[in-house]
Symmetry: C2
Subunit: 435 residues, 2 copies
């Protein structure tokens, strides 16, 4: 059983610069996968006729579903419509109703339609128009004997409603009986190789079983994702199979498994706090507000976050949280006693049930032999139990990565605290067991 | 004069899921562009022999420089080495010295080399080995009559040192006389179409001049980037031409131009503060620490950031910053009087020279007809002048985007305050001129 396989092309020279990513293809992949269509290849092609023609030709000849975004604008460097019609051997002609619709969009904004926009009303023979509710460039659905080519505009705000509306619907009808099913497990506190060593004996045989299950391990800035996927004729049988495998992995990973339904680490922590009616405050030094920014990015976070202090300097730690200056002088700002005093001080200065404190050396400067860049102390103080736990970690990477690692590990330690499981994370320095 | 054009292929099925981006190609593009090599196409291909073979075939036949990352691991689904050798008609043979090097890496970690890793010592005829200082998979430099194919491992930590070391050097020697030169202007406080309307009359003729200059406008979450590029035989003449054009654009954009050397908005603000010996504190409500996290992401930010308060609840605003509760009761937490009281309260509770305050409705809940989601009040208080300015803005998008927009606009208003220029940003609501 093989599902239909698709190619996604993004058109536009601006997508080939060192700073720009194509994000449309991620949204398209999500819709295709949900319909059981696997993405075989993605390509980004500049506004060059020959390159575009070669890639469209290859995609159409190899894949029954071809999704192309961008290059549908009114100007001369917008080549997609013309090149696709050429490759597919279709004649282009102007659709008078479309011209009127485009003209109307301009009239509504008290503008006259530039002549150039007539190009956007050119439709290849046999194509179906996909209305664009947010712009002038209509999409095109061009069926052929062995599949379909779909053209969508490049701006995500125009592309998304078309993709999630008519395109999804038409692809489903046009669909095959095979379903591609995925599951994602989020794992925290572990290195990628550490996770793999534990779960590889489990998942290795699945790859060659019938039906086969594909497993991929991804490390994404301090959090590991385990992706499982399978292709099944029967949707509910496929789902049941993956659910069973996910449970087996979860059992092997124990408390390191954060979620099995795709919920992120911060969403999981937010849900734990919310369901228990608890609130958290943070005292952040090297992360400079990043942990609280992550927590408050969750919709409805005001249920569990009330306030946080960014205490970057020693004076701020003393004046805002009551950390004794002589403690800092004796142990240094990056130390067990100081991170504990930050956590208990944060509790004393807020009504929160829990406080998380972070102090470390994010670099590039400030490191020493004893405390190199990447050394971060983390603590959680609990008002109810009166307990404060602290650990010292060493994170890899550079400034931005270390800060992100530190904030995510703080979230994970808070999660472990809430679940009452040990803080046995891989980043912890074994020689520095506690303050 | 046309520069060499390159194709970049990333290999790996995990790069074709809805959540994963290929980031290696951005680093590769940067190196290629600096050497005057334009990227014609980027593709991401799964671990499937036929797809990979078709794409390698097309890339090698069309582009003199082909960069391929990933698929060099020791397992059966790592196909790159074999497929490329096949397409190029080269025989693969094991390099005994390489086997020993790989074995040594394992020995150093007190492990025995698995037999599968011998695959990584397979080298096509005529290829040069690119040493991998961080992993077992060596890179391969495979020259042919019309160009070169470069294979690099997928993990960025292994790929980067090879790219930035030997590969950059060998590509430069292998180089053509044409240089691709780029400049980036950062613009803040304006919509993309607003920027385009002002600069399009300037740059439009440049596209058809000799030498031609390509201009691209990119909106990236509240900040606009203007990219200029040209191809020149003489590097310094090309640079002088672009510098002249950048100056013309800068003059047209006035204070909206943040930087002309690629420095980000936050780096520019950090530099302004640092050179004037000023410090800033933030009082953040809806952004929840994001502004301070941005400021402290700049290396050396302790020179201008000392502390910040995340005051999410009304109680936190009152207790930590002294915002009078009756002010909140009368005007609401998202109002001119409250944002001003937050800014002056932040100054009163810190030694900073300047305070920035943000309070708004990030959504998805909490909006009303009068104050819909996206409504954000921003203020800057200045200790020296005793002045506090406030504006109300309306930002587009959803929660994460609105928060990012608000933090970036706060940075831009701080920049405008430091430069003594008006706060005429496009997001400002004209009907709400001040508190």
């Amino acid at each position: 059983m093989t599902p239909r396989r698709a190619a996604i092309l993004a058109v536009g020279s601006e997508l080939l610069t060192p700073t720009k990513q194509d994000t449309n293809s991620l949204a398209i992949t999500e819709v295709l996968n949900a319909l059981g269509i696997e993405v075989a290849v993605k390509a980004i092609v500049g506004d060059h006729r020959d390159d575009l023609s070669a890639h469209v030709q290859m995609a159409v000849s190899r894949h029954p579903v071809v999704m192309i975004t961008g290059g549908l604008g009114p100007t001369d460097d917008d080549l997609t419509r013309e090149v696709v019609a050429g490759v597919m051997g279709r004649h282009l002609s102007e659709d008078p109703a479309l011209v009127e619709q485009i003209r109307e969009r301009f009239t509504m904004r008290r503008l006259e339609m530039p002549e150039a926009n007539r190009r956007q009303a050119q439709v290849p023979d046999g194509a179906r128009i996909i209305p664009n509710i947010r712009g002038t460039a209509p999409g095109l659905w061009i069926p052929h004997d062995e599949g379909v080519v779909v053209l969508l505009p490049g701006p995500p705000s125009e592309m998304r409603p078309m993709l999630e509306g008519p395109v999804r619907e038409w692809l489903a009808v046009h669909g095959s009986p095979a379903h591609l099913i995925r599951r994602v497990l989020i794992v925290a506190g572990r290195t990628e190789s550490g996770v793999d060593a534990r779960v590889q004996p489990l998942y290795a045989p699945w790859a060659t079983a019938v039906p086969a299950i594909e497993t991929t391990i991804l490390a994404s800035g301090g959090v590991i994702e385990l992706h499982l996927s399978t292709v099944a004729a029967d949707l509910s049988a496929g789902r049941a199979l993956l659910d069973e495998k996910v449970q087996a992995l979860q059992a092997a990973l124990g408390a390191d498994a954060v979620s099995v339904d795709g919920r992120s680490l911060v969403q999981t922590v937010g849900d734990l706090l919310r369901t228990r009616g608890l609130t958290v405050t943070a005292a952040e030094s090297c992360t400079g507000g990043l942990l609280t920014a992550m927590l408050t990015d969750v919709p409805g976070s005001s249920a569990f976050v009330d306030r946080s202090a960014v205490v970057y300097s020693n004076e701020a730690k003393a004046e805002w949280l009551g950390v004794p200056p002589d403690l800092i002088a004796r142990h240094g700002a990056v130390s067990g006693p100081v991170v504990r005093a930050m956590a208990t001080g944060a509790l004393a200065h807020s009504p929160a049930s829990l406080a998380v404190a972070i102090t470390g050396i994010a670099g590039p400067g400030g490191g020493s032999t004893e405390k190199p860049v990447g050394t971060v102390w983390l603590a959680v103080a609990d008002r109810q139990s009166g307990r404060t736990d602290a650990v010292c970690c060493r994170f890899p990477g550079e400034r931005t990565g270390i800060r992100r690692f530190a904030a995510l590990t703080a979230l994970d330690l808070l999660r472990r605290h809430l679940l009452g499981v040990p803080w046995t994370v891989d980043w912890r320095l074994p020689e520095v067991m506690d303050a």
